[in-house]
């Protein structure tokens, strides 16, 4: 991942916050999509924006302010300082233009995929899927027991846990999971990605059992609650989700519950109910989520069906990929080549020959109402 590709350099300049930008606000997702769409239509790539004439053309065509675009791209020297710091903190950066951009996120979020992902820890975990746990902020003895059960089940079924946030229950999940040897994808605010970890997480990171991920730059000082895309990422990364209902203050700062609701029934969701049932839990249940009764019933209902355990049983590779021509290839762990050729909105065409177990690209684009188009 180091050095950054020329494309990623430009995408980071355009979209990443380097703390408190005042003069030129980095491009948001929809703005970047406008620009990416223009690049695609003109058979250009982000790196071509080094040429001022293309920036001028792009500005006219997209309506994005020219001064803002050049101002953002002029942050080159500063970028050097930040990249050096991030690399020293053993972080990595992938943009949508990179072949290594996680396929799961592309497939699920399509043009809503974050232009850049910032991460730390083992990147290959991003291709495995897992069990997303969305729940309340407060721990209780009962919840801790439930979490322990979920963690054990995930280990038995080789399903990494995917969690978000900083709440005590997340910490409990991680602590419990690390003790049992599970793997994690931990979605965190960008500004916490490079921060020191306590010993259990540090050890898990050293042994390749944890990946920290954010769509925000580590220098982004905007508040955690302004990072709603984490919810979508959480759902995109998982095979299935467990929603822990509660009247407590939710740890769901990122609308993960809403995101899983939107993904039903394609992603399986299990609701651990609380009395009285919250309106979101009710919506989930009425849209195809399963009530959690016990683990046996959950497994019978399809929990872990999409997980690694199933793949291993069937002697399948860890990751399903397709090559540039759309032919299935099997390999483990994922490589940049493996993950290429799909919906690289910045320069590739749509590959609609996804395996049946995966979300059909065409289907999902249709859901977004942009049949056959790359950008919405």
């Amino acid at each position: 991942m180091w050095p950054l590709s020329e494309d990623t350099n430009e995408v980071v300049l355009l979209c990443a916050w380097f703390a408190g930008e005042r003069e030129y606000v980095p491009l948001g997702l929809q703005e970047y999509n406008l620009l990416a769409s223009w690049l695609y239509q003109h058979d250009l790539r982000p790196r071509d924006l080094k040429d001022l004439s293309y920036i001028e053309e792009a500005s006219v065509a997209t309506g994005l302010n020219l001064e803002r675009l050049t101002g953002l791209l002029n942050r080159r020297i500063s970028l050097g300082f930040y990249l050096e710091d991030w690399k020293r903190r053993s972080m990595w950066i992938i943009s949508r233009s990179d072949d290594g951009y996680p396929l799961r996120i592309h497939q699920h979020l399509k043009s809503q995929s974050p232009p850049i992902l910032f991460g730390s820890g083992e990147p290959s975990l991003l291709g495995i899927g897992g069990t997303a746990v969305i729940g309340p902020s407060m721990e209780t003895a009962q919840l801790n027991r439930f979490i322990h059960t979920v963690t054990e089940l995930c280990i038995q079924h080789h399903s990494p846990l995917i969690i978000a946030g900083q709440h005590p229950i997340s910490t409990q999940l991680i602590k419990s999971g690390i003790e049992l040897g599970n793997s994690f994808i931990w979605l965190r605010p960008g500004k916490l990605l490079g921060q020191p970890l306590d010993r259990p997480c540090r050890d898990a990171k050293a042994s390749g059992n944890i990946t920290l991920l954010s769509s925000r730059s580590p220098a982004d000082i905007r508040t955690f609650s302004e990072e709603p895309e984490i919810g979508s990422l959480l759902v995109a990364m998982c095979d299935h989700a467990i929603y822990i209902d509660s009247n407590e203050l939710s740890m769901d700062d990122f609308n993960s519950g809403e995101a899983i609701l939107r993904s039903l029934p394609k992603k399986k969701c299990f609701v651990y109910r609380h009395d009285p049932v919250s309106s979101l839990a009710e919506s989930l249940l009425s849209n195809g989520a399963h009530p959690w009764i016990d683990e046996e019933i959950a497994i019978d209902a399809g929990l872990f069906n999409g997980s690694l355990q199933r793949q291993i049983k069937q002697n399948e590779p860890l990751i399903e990929t397709t090559d540039h021509t759309g032919t299935n290839t099997k390999s483990s762990p994922p490589s940049a080549e493996d993950l290429s050729g799909h919906i690289h909105d910045d320069h590739h065409s749509i590959d609609s020959s996804e395996p049946a177990t995966k979300l059909s690209t065409t289907e999902s684009i249709s859901q977004n109402g942009v049949q056959g188009e790359l950008f919405d």
Partner: protein
């Protein structure tokens, strides 16, 4: 590609700026100066290798001026030394540029500088390489200028190269940063001291397409002398004679250590010479630089902290009290003198301690793998992070060794350790961390070769200036016709008169050998005893200032004491008499003598104390005894462990209720004296005066 016409008009504007800056209507660019400015303005990378005083500052100040006039953002300058920055502030001011620095000594101004940056009122922002790693810089300062740093200036660029004489680990970060800066960004790197190998390495680091400007290094105004004077007292006496009587104007005396800076300053002051000490950590550095600039000070006695970049055109002499670590260092330091005057002098003296100090720096340049592993393990085992003091508490290494490990490790990429707000954390990348042995070996060899070259220079009988030029691969090296060897004064006698040397010897005996009084314990709660109830040592428990006969390596006596101590035999009558005479002369008038009980040399020390008591006509009291706690103090490598080691190691058997002389043979950190003195005073001793045969120097 800009037209020739555009280039010519740009040059005319630049020339106007140059003339305004130097205050001369007919000033013109030096060879290579305009070409470097032009490349920088056009967004290219430039390396300027020119002697000090050539006008490197003009390259980046005029480039900045032109870039700012074109609407670019401020330049960011990375410079290793404060002295340099202060000069550069003034140089920028002459061009109407607002240069501001954010350094450790001007914290109070940072808020205002941030405001000025926000209002685009800063043209050059100067920081030290160490600042690059600070969270404050990345989260508060850089974001303000993120959208438009117009130019990156790397001053003293030879520090980037580990082939260089002055490689600095913090420059590793600059190396990586500039590698991540895309082409098309203006980068200006400057140095006065780079040989071919270093230039090639800098080019490699900054990109092979960098434009290099290189010129002659000769300084024609300088008259160089070198001579051997083994004894410090002789050198002190020589300076006391030469500076007031034979060296007009003002100058700098370079020394190797802070301790020597203080010592030489005190001597010169004692001899009524207006001298001031200057080294890292001195509060009034900026004030002292200004005073020297304005010729209000005759001489600054400085460590290498006043090295690169200090610009005083009429500085008329540089004296080296000790031998610098390399010829390049020497060239750089002596090159401070004679920039704007026709006659200036460089005197290089070398003494018997030089080799030992050079070896010490060489031996301590890199931590061993064992030391690295000890520090890494402590951090790995910690649940969260550790403060430096906490690491010192756990790891039996000198503070400076721990700091060295942390500093080198934190500069790796990815880094096995990081520092957040003063706390060190393992990152999970510690496993197998090592500094490649071949790299250490290569760097040690470079340093060792530099040392050998310095010795060659000391004994060189040809032109001294030409030697320096050759050492820096200056193709235009030629005889200067001015140095001691060129004017054939190799038989010149530099030795001062005997009475002057005697005076300096007496001064050294008095000033060097005071035993420091600790006023604070290094950490809280060292023991349950009330003397440790607060981190501050309560005044009524403190020792008085004490006295030692000598320092370990400063004289023959030090070596003799060391030999007698190691033999295990009683100290000789000569040593004891000298010690007793010293104490008599101090007129300290104690009522009792007692001593620090020793684990391994109890008989030796008790004998020493008894003899001293006999000489002074006082009673020896066996006031203190050891508990089973505590190991040999000499096994403890840092002050925290030393303080902890002795915290529970002594009890008072017999209170001394009158002023008491407390004897030990050697003192290093002074924690044993501090602890036993506090215990004695807790038991009603009104005054405790520590006295030792010797102070062990070059320790933490």
């Amino acid at each position: 590609m800009p037209s020739l016409k555009h280039r010519e008009s740009l040059k005319q504007i630049a020339l106007l700026h140059l003339r305004a800056a130097v205050g001369s209507g007919d000033a013109d660019f030096r060879d290579g100066q305009w070409e470097s400015i032009y490349q920088a303005v056009m967004g290219n990378r430039v390396l300027v290798v020119q002697r000090t005083g050539w006008g490197k500052t003009m390259v980046y100040t005029i480039s900045t001026k032109l870039r700012r006039e074109q609407g670019a953002g401020p330049s960011l300058m990375i410079s290793p030394l404060l002295a340099l920055m202060r000069n550069q502030e003034d140089a920028a001011f002459a061009l109407g540029l607002n240069a501001r620095r954010m350094t450790g000594d001007n914290h109070g101004e940072w808020k205002k500088i941030h405001e000025e940056l926000q209002d685009d009122k800063v043209d050059i922002l100067m920081i030290t390489p160490e600042r690059l790693g600070s969270n404050m810089f990345l989260t508060k300062t850089l974001p303000i200028i993120a959208s438009g740093i117009g130019m990156l200036i790397i001053d003293e660029a030879h520090c980037i190269s580990d082939w260089g004489h002055d490689f600095r680990p913090d420059y590793l970060r600059i190396r990586r940063i500039q590698q991540m800066i895309p082409q098309g960004s203006s980068v200006v790197a400057t140095t006065a001291t780079a040989n071919n190998r270093v230039v090639e390495d800098i080019k490699h680091q900054l990109g092979d397409n960098i434009q290099v400007t290189r010129g002659s290094l000769i300084r024609r105004s300088l008259q160089l002398h070198n001579f051997k004077m083994p004894e410090p007292s002789t050198r002190l006496a020589w300076m006391a004679w030469a500076i007031p009587e034979h060296l007009p104007g003002s100058g700098i005396v370079y020394v190797l250590t802070r301790k020597d800076a203080d010592l030489v300053t005190k001597w010169l002051q004692y001899k009524k010479i207006d001298a001031h000490a200057y080294y890292g950590g001195t509060e009034e550095r900026e004030h002292l630089e200004k005073e020297l600039q304005n010729n209000n000070i005759k001489v600054l006695v400085a460590t290498i902290a006043l090295g690169m970049g200090f610009d005083k055109p009429d500085l008329s002499f540089i004296i080296h009290y000790q031998r610098p670590s390399s010829v390049v260092h020497y060239y750089q330091q002596v090159g401070r003198a004679g920039r704007g005057i026709t006659d200036a002098y460089g005197f290089l003296m070398w003494g018997e301690e030089d080799e030992r100090i050079a070896d010490y720096f060489l031996d301590n340049a890199f931590p061993s793998q064992t030391e690295i592993d000890l520090v890494m393990n402590a951090l790995e085992e910690a649940d969260s992070g550790l403060k430096l003091k906490e690491i010192m508490f756990q790891v039996n290494l000198k503070k400076s060794r721990i700091e060295k490990v942390l500093s080198l490790a934190s500069l790796e990429s990815p880094a096995p350790v990081i520092n957040e707000r003063g706390i060190w954390y393992a990152t999970g990348e510690t496993d197998g961390f090592q500094i490649p042995p071949e790299r250490i070996e290569r760097l040690r060899k470079i340093r060792s070769d530099e040392k050998a070259q310095m010795r060659q220079y000391m004994n060189h009988d040809g032109c001294l200036m030409s030697f320096l030029q050759h050492a820096l691969d200056d193709p235009s090296a030629e005889s200067c016709g001015r140095c001691r060897n060129c004017i054939d004064r190799r038989d010149m006698n530099y030795l001062p008169k005997a009475e002057k040397i005697n005076e300096a010897q007496q001064f050294l005996g008095k000033k060097l050998n005071q035993i420091f009084v600790h006023k604070k314990w290094p950490i809280a709660d060292l023991s349950d005893h009330p003397i440790h109830a607060t981190t501050k040592i309560i005044e009524k428990y403190q020792a008085s200032w004490g006295f030692a006969l000598c320092r370990m390596f400063d004289s023959d006596l030090g070596h003799q004491i060391m030999r007698e101590r190691t033999s295990g035999q009683n100290y000789s009558d000569g040593v004891i008499e000298a010690f007793a005479t010293l104490l008599k002369n101090r007129k300290i008038m104690p009522s009792y003598v007692t001593y620090i009980p020793s684990i391994s040399r109890q008989r030796q020390i008790q004998f020493l104390a008894q003899k001293v008591a006999d000489h002074l006509g006082l009673s020896l009291i066996h006031a203190v005894s050891r508990t089973p706690n505590g190991s040999r103090q000499s096994d403890m490598k840092n002050p925290i462990l030393r303080a902890r080691n002795v915290a529970n190691a002594f009890v008072i058997d017999q209170p001394c209720r009158a002023p008491t002389l407390l004897i030990d043979d050697i003192t290093t950190s002074g924690w044993t004296f501090a602890t036993v003195a506090a215990l004695l005073r807790y038991d009603d001793c009104p005054k405790v005066i520590p006295a030792a045969l010797m102070i062990h120097t070059l320790s933490d």
